[in-house]
Every structure is written in C-alpha cells, then in structure tokens.
C-alpha cells in the first residue's frame, strides 16, 4: 500500500495504491489523520490504483469521513475497478460521499471544476 499526497487546484489530493487490508490499514489511518490535520481544503480520495480493500480498510475510510464531516470539509472519491466499486457500494459508501470514475468528475462534485 502506498499513499501519495498533493495539493492541486485548491483540493487536497490523496492517492492510495496497492492493497488495503488488515496489515496496511493502520498505516493509512496514520496518513489520513495527518491529512485531516494538515489542511482546510476539500479532499479527493483517489482509489484508481487500489487493487483490494477489506473491511479493515473500509473502517479507516469511515473514520476519516467522520473526521472530515466534523471539520466541515467535503470529500469525493475516485474509483473504477469493478470489484472495488462492488465492495464500496455493498458497504453503503455511495450513500456517504460521491464516488466517480475520474479526478475531473470528483473536482466537479466538490464544486471546484
């Protein structure tokens, strides 16, 4: 699992690649906590290079979304892998934040396109 962070067009971009399982999820949690503390900007969680997520990863994302909501910050997600989308939808994440196939659409959802 790898996490890449950048700021682009007044949006905090967080790209997560590889496998998000019981082993790697605590490391993502740490990175996301830093990301919550580091900025006031809306954020895009980019999962276009994420190959696997289990409930351990979903819990970390849920916790992150709660913190972002508490901070009054918007989040959009980029995901396009069929299995990943299936898991995210089954877990009801599509009801919690916009999940779209490209960064451009995610920017649009954040009102910054």
């Amino acid at each position: 699992m790898e996490v890449l962070q950048s700021t682009e067009d007044s949006i905090q971009q967080i790209a997560v690649s590889g496998k998000l399982d019981g082993l790697s999820s605590p490391a993502l949690e740490e990175e996301l906590n830093k990301a919550v503390a580091a900025s006031e900007l809306p954020a895009i969680l980019n999962f276009s290079e994420l190959a696997y997520i289990s409930s351990a990863g979903l819990r970390v994302i849920l916790d992150y979304l709660k913190k972002m909501k508490g901070a009054g910050r918007k989040v959009a997600m980029v995901a396009n892998d069929e299995m990943l989308l299936y898991v995210l939808k089954r877990a009801g994440f599509n009801l919690l934040l916009p999940i779209v196939p490209t960064s451009e659409e995610a920017k649009g959802k954040l009102g910054a396109a």
Binding site: D21, G22, G70, A91, G92
Partner: protein
C-alpha cells in the same frame, strides 16, 4: 476423458494477527498461481481475511493460544473454503447486517466484513458446530470465461 484440475491449500495458524497476515498473503499467491479469475480470487482473499479476523478478534473467551484450520480446494468449478476454530459457538449466517441508512457520524465501525462476504458469495455458506468446533464452509464459483488476474 475430461481432466479436472484440482488444487488445494491447507494451513493451520494460531489466533495471532501477524500469522493471519502471512496466511492472507499466501492465500492470494495460491489463487494467483492456479490462475483463478480476478473476481473469484478477490472473493477468496476477502473471505479468508474477514472470517479469520473475526475469529481471532471475537471468538475466544480466554487469552490462550488456539489453532485455526484453513482448507481451500479448487476443482475448476468452485473454490471451497473450510474454516475450523474452537472458539465459542458463532454462526455468521445469523449475524445482523449493518444499517447502511445511518448518516456517517452515526455509523458503527464494525460488522461489515461478514456482511460483505455473505453478499459476495450469495450466502453460499454452511455452518456447523461439531465437538466444540465451529466449521464454516464457503463456496465460490469460478467462472471459466474470465481471464486470470494479471501481475
């Protein structure tokens, strides 16, 4: 005569999170090596991680060391996962589903793993309690019209 490829993976681990992680890696390598298509390969990896994590976290009423047995067989039609633990009686088929209608700040952070696996295998799961063991069998269809996962 029709050849049916059979492959098997068998391992016993202790109720230890680090041992489970090594096991999960090895299971994913196993399904890749026998060219299981992408989707069922994901389901096999997820089922092993979720169900065994659950056993290790919640199944034991003491702090002792316990063995958990995992058996995976693939016969070309199905991957069958058999999990055996001596924790307290727990039938995952009777676990309540998470409430997805709650707003983000009210969502509990647990209960998703079992639900996801059940949905992904269309509840093709059987549970038995025998001589103090929980025995869970999960069957995953292996469609042969799909390409195996690339590296």
């Amino acid at each position: 005569m029709q050849q049916t490829m059979r492959s098997a993976f068998r391992r016993t681990i202790r109720n230890d999170a680090a041992e489970l992680q090594t096991l999960c890696e090895d299971v994913c390598t196993f399904v890749e090596e026998i060219s299981v298509p992408c989707k069922p390969a994901y389901v096999v990896c997820l089922a092993v991680e979720e169900m065994m994590t659950n056993v290790i976290k919640y199944s034991y009423d003491d702090a002792g060391v316990h063995d958990i047995h995992l058996d995976i067989t693939c016969d070309g039609q199905h991957a069958t996962i058999r999990l055996q633990d001596d924790g307290h009686e727990f039938n995952p088929l009777l676990a309540p589903p998470p409430n997805k209608d709650l707003p983000v700040e009210e969502r509990p952070v647990g209960g998703l793993g079992i639900y996801l696996v059940r949905k992904m295998v269309n509840d093709d799961m059987t549970y038995q309690r025998e001589d103090g063991w929980n025995i869970l069998t999960i069957r995953i269809p292996l469609q042969d019209d799909e390409e195996p996962c690339g590296p």
